[in-house]
Amino acid sequence: MDAPLLAIENLRTYFYSRAKQAFIRSVDGVSLDVERGETLGIVGESGSGKSVTALSAAGLVTAGPGVISGRIDLHSSGARRNLLDGLERFVRVKEQEGRVMAVEKDERGWRRHAETLMEGVRGKEIAMIFQNPRSALNPYSTIGKQLVETIRLHTNFKGESEAKERAIHWLERVRIDSPGLRFDDFPFGLSGGMCQRAMLAMALSAEPSLLIADEPTTGLDATIQSRIVDLLAELKAETAVATILISHDISVIQRLSDRVAVMYGGTVVETGRVGEVLAPGVKVRHPYTAALLASIPNAETIRRKSYLQAIEGEVLDTINVPRGCRFYGRCNRVTEAIRDGCAGLEPPLGEVAPGHKVRCWLYPAAQESSA
């Protein structure tokens, strides 16, 4: 079998909070694969680390004294590149009895090296679209101009006129009406949905091997959302570009993903094919996934006007990460038999069925893989 397009291995992305003298452990040991042509959905609440995982892969984590470790291997154009190669040289963490005392980071060296690593990768191999498309577009330039720039930079369409032709082709492919006219529009003249289409055209025009779509439908109107989802589904079928789709909207993930990873508190708590993880009536799943699905009103709760099954408590604070399972404090499925494990030791991601992994002491697979 081919190596996966992108292999994230034990990724840790920490940010150091000077005020609290502690690390914010945004991503805390995430391993994920993205195969060629597949869509991997990442679902989770805010602060679960889903966006930071993707930003790390795109080399866009720049904040202050952040720390990244692990590997992110990109296999494309016949080569393998570790996108984090050598970055650890630029950071020194002083610890004393498990407590971080100080972080020394050569910010300029780090940034320069990160940029070298990302050369020919970001924008070309890995393209991104974001939640707020308008802020990702240059307000002083027409969308046509921005598209042409991308195309001339990243593809073999170097000439002005052939690049323009190509740009109009892409505007057409993202179903923008009268692309010839829209070519000369500025972002402020376009609606939110239209801006997202333009962003998508720009991302795809570089013909990337991986598209990262970070909350592409959030903040758009309901009717526009479903159109963007339709468009993503169509483009997925047409271009076969591998995609990491990040959303807190489970229905969007369900509709577009082949596989899904559920994140909580900086870790992946469950991963598998979307039908196995998010379909109704599945018996084996992480209590967090189950609770998340149950907290959304469905036909039954609406008909009976019953209460929603809320997940008690708050989203995990990733500074003071507990020793045991990160979901322990909010979990409603802790039994006496496993309580000690839940409270004291973080369960591993155990395989409960081929390709379906759950990080929970409820399942024997977790106990086996830790043994």
């Binding site: 609440e45 805010s46 179903r175 009406d177 609606s191 949905g193 239209m194 109107d221 309901a222 009717t223 526009i224 959302q225 479903s226 159109r227 989802v229 339709d230 589904a233 169509e234 079928a237 807190h248 909207d249 489970i250 229905s251 969007v252 369900q254 509709r255 979307v274 609770a291 998340l292 907290s295 959304i296 009103p297 469905n298 709760t301 609406i302 008909r303 006007k305 209460y307 929603l308 099954q309 809320a310 997940i311 008690e312 708050e314 989203v315």
Partner: protein, 340 residues
């Protein structure tokens, strides 16, 4: 049947927009009808959901019925009293009976005050209770919204989204309101926290006999909490009725599209387009955004209406003299469409 607490008749709110120096000098400008002739009522202890796309006038209605924004015309009757033209001073004693929960979690939370002082301020706006009374009311409010005792000493910036929302609700409850306009109360929150807040709002309604105007674009939540739902399009209510009827037997083509867009998103099947149904795909693509700049003639939904297209563009839909009015189709279900 409980009596109505809020009666709104033919409410209009027009904003005028002036562009450039010439129109400023001549006093000419475009008029944007954010709310354009809306009538509805709320019964005591009832929830009415207000849905529609952004820009359709939902929030403007919420603000106008509370007189936070002045209406251009129409009548607002609160608890049997016409409040349309009351002065600020006359409104003041009524303010405590009608409150608003804003979408913004930080709205109303002074960043330089501790939670305890925020609540104390809310309690002393309309009354002068003793310190002992204040302490017991703060405890009561804290329990009503399930806020931890330790959080009272925190500043808003130290709270999570869910806690901020709870404090915001406690602050509103402090004046013992009867009517609450909840403007997107859950949309800024995480999924798992949304459910807590929805449950809390329903509990409070049951225990305190509150009436809600619930503004949201989250259709399943609206359907869950509301007895009645009003669907707005471009400043007008195009359909209104019992929540289950609006959700499951919608009559207006816009309502159909709104609810089916939800089903579409959840649909795990291949999309229409991918099935090779190119015509349907094209139709979806042409679904633009509504635009106040297009002059309305006749039905304002006609430019986007699939029914209008299917019927061969009947003249009545675009006849300026016959904008469809809400008519009863049974069980208090009203719809504004010539053909629905």
């Amino acid at each position: 049947m409980s009596r109505s607490i809020l009666d709104v008749t033919d409410l209009r709110k027009h904003y005028s927009q002036r562009r450039g120096l010439v129109s400023m000098l001549t006093g000419e400008g475009r008029v944007i009808p954010a709310v354009d002739g809306v009538s509805f009522y709320l019964r005591e202890n009832e929830t009415v959901g207000l849905v529609g796309e952004s820009g359709c006038g939902k929030t403007t209605i919420g603000r106008t019925v509370l007189r936070l924004t002045d209406p251009s015309s129409g009548r607002i009757v609160f608890d049997g009293r016409d409040i349309t033209n009351l002065s600020r001073a006359e409104l003041r004693p009524l303010r405590r009976q009608m409150q608003m929960i804003f979408q913004d979690l930080d709205a109303g939370l002074n960043p330089k005050m501790r939670v305890r002082d925020i609540l104390r301020e809310a309690l002393t706006v309309h009354e002068r209770p003793s310190d002992a009374e204040i302490a017991s009311r703060i405890r009561e409010l804290r329990e009503q919204v399930n806020l931890k005792d330790s959080k009272l000493a925190n500043f808003p910036s130290e709270l999570s989204g869910g806690e901020k929302r709870r404090v915001g609700i406690a602050r509103v409850l402090a004046v013992r309101p009867r009517l609450i306009v909840a403007d997107e109360p859950t949309s800024a929150l995480d999924v798992s926290i949304q459910a807590q807040v929805v449950n809390l709002l329903r509990d409070l309604q049951k225990n305190l006999g509150l009436t809600y105007l619930f503004i949201s674009h989250d259709l399943p939540v609206v359907e869950l909490v509301s007895q009645k739902v009003a669907v707005m399009y471009l400043g007008r209510i195009v359909e209104m009725g019992l929540a289950e009827n609006i959700a499951h037997q919608p009559r207006h083509p816009y309502t159909v599209i709104l609810w089916s867009s939800l089903a579409d998103k959840q649909n795990t099947e291949v999309s229409l387009f991918a099935r090779g149904d190119a015509a349907a795909g094209r139709e979806r693509r042409t679904w633009g955004v509504f635009d106040f700049e297009q002059p309305v003639s006749g039905c304002r939904f006609a430019p986007r209406c699939p029914l209008y297209r299917d019927k061969g563009r009947p003249a009545v839909c675009t006849d300026p003299a016959s904008e469809p009015q809400l008519r009863d189709v049974g069980h208090g279900h009203v719809v504004a469409c010539h053909f629905a």
